[in-house]
Amino acid sequence: MAAPLTLVLIVAVTIRAVLFSSSLAEPLMERVEVVSPLNAWKRVVEGLALLDLGASPYSGDVFHETPLIIYLFHFVIDYADIVFMIADGITAVALYLAVQDYNKTVFRKQKYALEADRYPHDCLELIRTPKEMYYIPLKVALFYLLNPFTIFSCVAKSTCGLNNAVIALFILSTIKGSAFLSAVFLALATYQSIYPLTLFAPALLFLLQRLYIPVNFYRPSFWLFTLQYAVMYLGSLCVIVCLSFFLLSSWDFIPSVYGFILSVPDLTPNIGLFWYFFAEMFEHFRFFFICVFQINVFFYTIPLSIKLKEHPVFLIFMQIAIISIFKSYPTVGDISLYMAFLPVWSHLYRFLRNIFLVSCVMLACSALFPVLWHLWIYAGSANSNFYYAITLLFNVGQILLVSDYFYAFLRREHHLTHGLYLKRKDGSEATLVLK
């Protein structure tokens, strides 16, 4: 399996290298769909210039990346292209390994369940076979590396690719069962963009499951491990933040990075939901609605964790998707990360209801983004409403996609316990309806 992965990596790197040297790279760096004020390369360069002048990189209100990123590029600025390509490669390999391991776990569990005869007899067609699972890790890597969204994001040198790499490493270390590394990478991801904070719950659930500790509030072992993981997480977060402080010897970055993410002062259009609302809103209501919008990202963690506590990896997928939909400055790079997971759930295909419609909507929207941007900014004949309408549709498409997968997952689980061919009480064939 290593050979096809190498091949995919080579193809991906070649495409990126060609695009880096083509004339496409320059305009891509300006596209609001691909870069946001948080992760634009131009801003990183500006921050570096300020740093080289001996000023605080945050003094110009242009740079909003974390101090670690700027110090990383301080040393490798000449090799920025390669860094971004490597980041994409790391993400793909990490996801590949993680999914491979996860599939093994899934298969083992399924085998035990089969041996224990826990599945209803008509569910045999839902049982997953090693043959269909064999290529899934490769498909995941393929989906990430050759997704046009990832490629654009990489060619535009959006630092989103680095965040994705950190999150992918976090997923890998979690699935490999290394609590310490998992906590460190989670802390790093949180440090980068706050929102991955919500991945704490699924990671904890997964590690608990791996150690066969039941989620039971009356068990001391549960509390012990939770405490242990939380301390590791908070400890490494603390270390990273303090390290940043010592690097710059100022706390400037806290308001400049986290304040910027949470209070959304920059209303440059992007593919997210924030900009239009807050451009239109009266200043008076701004604080209230910022709270409402931001809570969206964190709010779903609790019900989802309760519902999916047996399936933490699916929960990770859901959380990443929710983050990329509801975060304040989303870019297409964020979307590509959760899209890479879609092949993992390919066995849910038969239960998906709107996948065709949703993929059509998302493809059409991706084509319409540049067209409406052209009409609004360049031709001056359309206005922001046109662009926002497409943003809205795109996000509705994403939400439908995620909820469709959620429904399909739950439905499969339901069938695995209750049998595939459900009967009503009167004996007629029943259908499941989500209401």
């Binding site: 065709f356 059509c360 409406l372 031709a379 001056g380 004949s381 429904y407 989500l434």
Partner: protein
């Protein structure tokens, strides 16, 4: 959400759509066409009105009286032009300086990718002369442009004369709050392109020009003047710009309002408005005017020197003097008054023209159809594609077998886009044709070769085509077409609509099981190339200058070369759109027909 989540209701809806699919498609198509034709019917259109308050209620008294003197200047200019055998730059500079303007020149040169046989030019060298009248009343942050092209031969002398006359008159007035730039551009659009690029410090087309030495404020509006006779019978307004972009409707309203006030006959597309909308002749006149606008807009080329201003966010229009056999004549003084009035109103602008519509069609100068009214016509056609897509839920194997035709048809498209210009030298060496002919004929040859190519290759590469295979391919092709036409219609409604009119029926009926020869014939007749040919005949018919088949063919060839030139010179997007996207999409459908 009920429809999305409840499987029973969904099934009911899908069944209904599947059962009624064919009648629904036919109804949608007919309704789309009927809606479009109905747009020109007067009760369905809106009366134009001035939206911009700054231009609305101000009373202006026009005092320009120097029409006769302008004619004298025009004759002098003509004599100088004849003597120089081209643009009399020095004379123009002196004339403008004598009228108190700050005068600058800009020289430019451009080698065309291949000779332009219509205008007989290949290596173009020229000079633009422009004079700036600085605003006495306000900081010089905004400007207006009045331009007149200096064309070879005896045309357009009066325009330059009037421009100089207006410059002299405007110089004496104190109320200007915006700089006024008087521009005489050589080699029509090429000169205009050089001047605009110089003014805005951009270089999008790789042209060489000397930088501008003097500059006014940001340009708010521009008028381009074309006059070739001492007296005129009517004034024609030209709005269509590059890529089908239109100026704000208020500019047309302004022109119309002043024509009404001063009592000049005004036309659009060369068609005079009729008052009897309820008669067949009146309706037919409106339809013809609107169809001409649609065809011109769809061509994506600038139809006057104003066409390139629109790209820089500047509202611009061309005003063309027409001298026909009518009784009622207008002299240059009146035209001057009209321009004076328009400039004084534009001078009052507090912000860019933005109040009125940017997306409209004009069945006459006093009536317009806004985007909300005409989009449904396209929407009904696009609905057919959505119905066809929505019906199927395919997938499964065969994605790879679909990939080959996709790649091959796009490679053909790339060849169609790049080869004609790259291969012209080789073609000229081996065949007895001129460069221009070589380019056009290569394009046509590749276009035709594309028909033979794809349906033979997919079998070689992927074995037997399956039933599932063509269904997936058709689904992809239809979805592709829906997105493509949708995007096109947003940018250039006319182009999108005309393409939809011919491509949608093909997409709807095509399967490998229809009678092959007949369908192939229908498909070729409805291909993008044939659409262009038909459009030429329709256009000539509407212009009341019908042509024979042979003339039509020659015109077809020259239109193709113009399209390629427009793309290379001004960055018009129609040629790349057709060759890189629409044609491959059509080839996919062609591929389905020959699926084995």
């Amino acid at each position: 959400m009920g429809l999305l989540s409840d499987p029973n209701r969904r099934r009911a809806l899908t069944n209904l759509l599947t059962r009624l699919n064919t009648p629904l498609c036919i109804v949608c198509y007919l309704a789309g066409v009927a809606w479009f034709m109905g747009l020109a019917f007067e009760p369905f259109t809106l009366r134009t009105y001035m939206s911009e308050n700054a231009m609305g209620s101000t009373m202006v008294e026009e005092r320009f009286l120097a029409g006769e003197r302008a004619l004298v200047t025009a004759r002098e200019f003509a004599a100088q032009k004849k003597k120089m055998g081209g643009m009399p730059v020095d004379w123009l500079v002196k004339a403008m300086q004598a009228r108190g303007l700050e005068v600058f020149t800009q020289s430019f040169s451009r080698t065309l990718p291949f000779p332009d046989e219509n205008k007989e030019r290949y290596m173009v060298h020229g000079t633009n002369v422009y004079g700036i009248l600085r605003a006495p009343r306000a900081p010089r942050t905004e400007a207006l442009v009045l331009s007149a092209p200096c064309t070879p031969g005896s045309s357009n002398n009066q325009a330059v004369g009037l421009l100089l006359g207006l410059a002299q008159y405007f110089r004496g007035q104190m109320y200007w709050a915006k700089d006024i730039i008087f521009l005489v551009n050589e080699h029509d659009l090429i000169g205009m392109q050089a001047w605009l690029e110089g003014y805005h410090h951009t270089n999008t087309t790789g042209m060489s020009w000397t930088p501008l030495e003097g500059r006014g404020g940001s340009i708010q509006a521009a008028l381009s003047l074309e006059l070739s006779s001492d007296i005129i019978t009517s004034l024609d307004l030209v709005l269509e710009g590059l890529n089908g972009q239109l100026p704000n409707l208020d500019l047309a309203n302004l022109f119309y309002a002043f024509c009404q006030k001063i009592g000049v006959l005004c036309t659009i597309q060369g068609k005079l408005q009729r008052n009897d909308w309820d008669s067949a002749a009146g309706y037919s006149q409106a339809v013809q005017t609107m169809l001409l606008m649609v065809l011109k807009q769809a061509s994506g080329r600038p139809w006057g020197d104003h066409g390139l201003f629109l790209r820089y966010h500047i509202e611009a229009a061309s005003i063309r003097g027409i001298n026909s056999f009518r009784q009622y004549k207008t002299d240059l003084t009146t035209v001057g008054k009209l321009l004076e009035g328009m400039f004084r109103k534009l001078n009052n602008l507090l912000e860019r023209l933005h109040q009125s519509y940017f997306f409209y069609l004009l069945p006459s100068l006093s009536r317009f159809v806004s985007i909300g009214y005409y989009m449904p016509a396209f929407g009904l056609l696009a609905a057919i594609l959505l119905l066809l897509v929505g019906m199927r839920e395919p997938f499964g194997p065969g994605v790879l077998s679909v990939l080959t035709p996709l790649i091959i048809s796009h490679l053909t498209g790339v060849a169609l886009y790049t080869l004609p210009i790259m291969a012209q030298q080789t073609a000229v060496e081996h065949f007895p044709v001129s460069e221009t002919e070589a380019v056009v004929l290569t394009a046509i040859a590749i276009y035709t070769a594309g028909l033979a190519l794809p349906h033979n290759t997919h079998r070689v590469l992927s074995g037997e085509g399956t039933e599932e295979g063509w269904r997936v391919l058709k689904l992809i092709a239809i979805f592709y077409m829906a997105v493509l036409l949708g995007c096109t219609a947003l940018i250039n409604f006319s182009l999108g609509f005309i393409l939809a009119l011919t491509l949608v029926p093909v997409a709807a009926f095509i399967t490998p099981h229809v009678p092959r020869v007949l369908s192939a014939l229908v498909m070729v007749l409805l291909s993008p190339g044939s659409t262009l040919l038909f459009s030429i005949f329709v256009y000539q018919e509407l212009q009341e200058a019908p042509i024979t088949l042979l003339e039509g063919w020659n015109l077809f060839l020259s239109v193709i070369s113009q399209g390629i030139l427009d793309h290379n010179l001004y960055g018009s997007l129609v040629y790349p759109l057709i060759s890189l996207l629409v044609y491959p999409c059509w080839l996919l459908l062609w591929n389905i027909l020959f699926w084995k």
